[in-house]
């Protein structure tokens, strides 16, 4: 899935959404980092988790 990921478009979209400043010379690194994170996420999303598997939480009401 990472092969088809358009990091430039994602960063441009999220920059506007989050009202971020990203100078031109920072952009390649930001795109590289979100690409690496997408690759990590692909690895996770391709793993079959049981529906009963819940996130561990420390929240105590």
């Amino acid at each position: 899935m990472s092969e088809t990921f358009d990091a430039k478009a994602h960063v441009t979209h999220m920059q506007a959404l989050n009202e971020l400043t990203i100078e031109d010379d920072w952009r390649p690194e930001v795109e590289a980092h979100i690409t690496a994170t997408k690759k990590a996420a692909d690895l996770l999303l391709s793993f079959p988790l049981d529906d009963a598997e819940e996130a561990a939480s420390v929240f105590v009401p």
Partner: protein
Amino acid sequence: MTSFDSIQADATAIADSVKTTELTATHTATASLDRIKQLNQALGAFTDVIETKALSDAQEVDRQVATSAYLPLAGVPFAVKNLFDIEGMSTRAGSKINRTNPPATADAFLVSRLKSAGAILTGGLNMGEYAYDFTGENIHDGNCLNPHDTSRMAGGSSSGSGSSVASGMVPIALGSDTNGSIRVPSSFCGLFGLKPTYGRLSRHGTFPFVGSLDHLGPMARSARDLALVFDVLQGPDPMDPAQADKPFLATTTELRNGIEGLRIATAGGYFRTNAEPEALAAVDAVAAAVGASREVEIPEAARARAAAYVITASEGANLHFDRIRSRPEDFDPDTRDRFLAGTMIPALWVQQAHRFRSWFRDLMSKMFEEFDIILTPTTPFTSLPSDTKTITLAGQIMPARPNIGLFTQPISFIGLPAVSVPIWLEGASLPIGVQVIAPAWREDLALRVAHHLQEIGVAKAPVAAL
């Protein structure tokens, strides 16, 4: 007054000498401060040196020793990563931005614990900005260097903790470990470093990074010091919402039990294919020394590491969102671009990572029904030359900064306790750590193995020859 060398001695020996009045706390504090003055410019370990208060605290310890007060760390100099609150000082957390914050109004919980035990705080230590680092490099305060070879990294993000202890400025230091930030500098600087179980020690009064993964712990030149300090650090604190309700675990008294009865295995697969020869040799040397003949595969370790990566990027970016949006130019470029990218992560990815965390915890819990200890390399290699930007592992070129912690990340991801044990291979000019991993809440087992390895001479943590 004495021939005792408080620079070479470990904390246990120092405390014993102060308690028996062979040595005074004033003497040990002065020796530590002199050593800091002598070496800090070259190493960049301390960002803040506390001199006047340290000496007055030492005098107070001497007065208390004279009244036979119970002080297990009497006269032991220590320092803390500068994300720990120190009363009267701004907690910079390795950043430019936070150093203009108002001064802390109280010491961090763990700093107070050490002081109450008679230890003397001599300052705050350099670190990677906001703890998002494995190198020890910091654009604001200068790079923290490795005392065993000053052309190389101390490792991070608890870089000053590693450099200060390995150079003999202090016998013990506190660090934080979200993905490996105690264990990596322990490996690079040749120290014993303990990352306790997640939720064991209070983090109150420290600047966070990733609340669901943040741990605090000690670094030292002996395993018995880790145990001594860990025993002092434990205690309930309602101010840390993640602290678990667990009874005190005595570890110092357990060290004498050695490795008898422990079922010890080495990890294969992921933990061998990504390791350089020196890392494999170190694990093999430890395995041989403790009779660990079985190799086990930890399934899905790469996914565990990926999940820790996603959670860290997202949760860290959330913490710093206002700062990264309003003052991006004031960040270290090496962390800025990662935090910016971290604001762009879909919630779906993060939730999957948290659910995988539960799955992986259960898997490892089952593995520990069969074993008491699992060994891995702490880092894939020895300390890298400063300013190294990329590394090659298993034939793949990758960025250095996020990947030094390949072996530590899957373990802290599920909060297991681990001790990094320093190994000097024959003829080696640099140390490398072996990660001794125990089941949750069993720091005592990992410390027993570490102490045994030091007792038989397989592990050692000499003060660097500077």
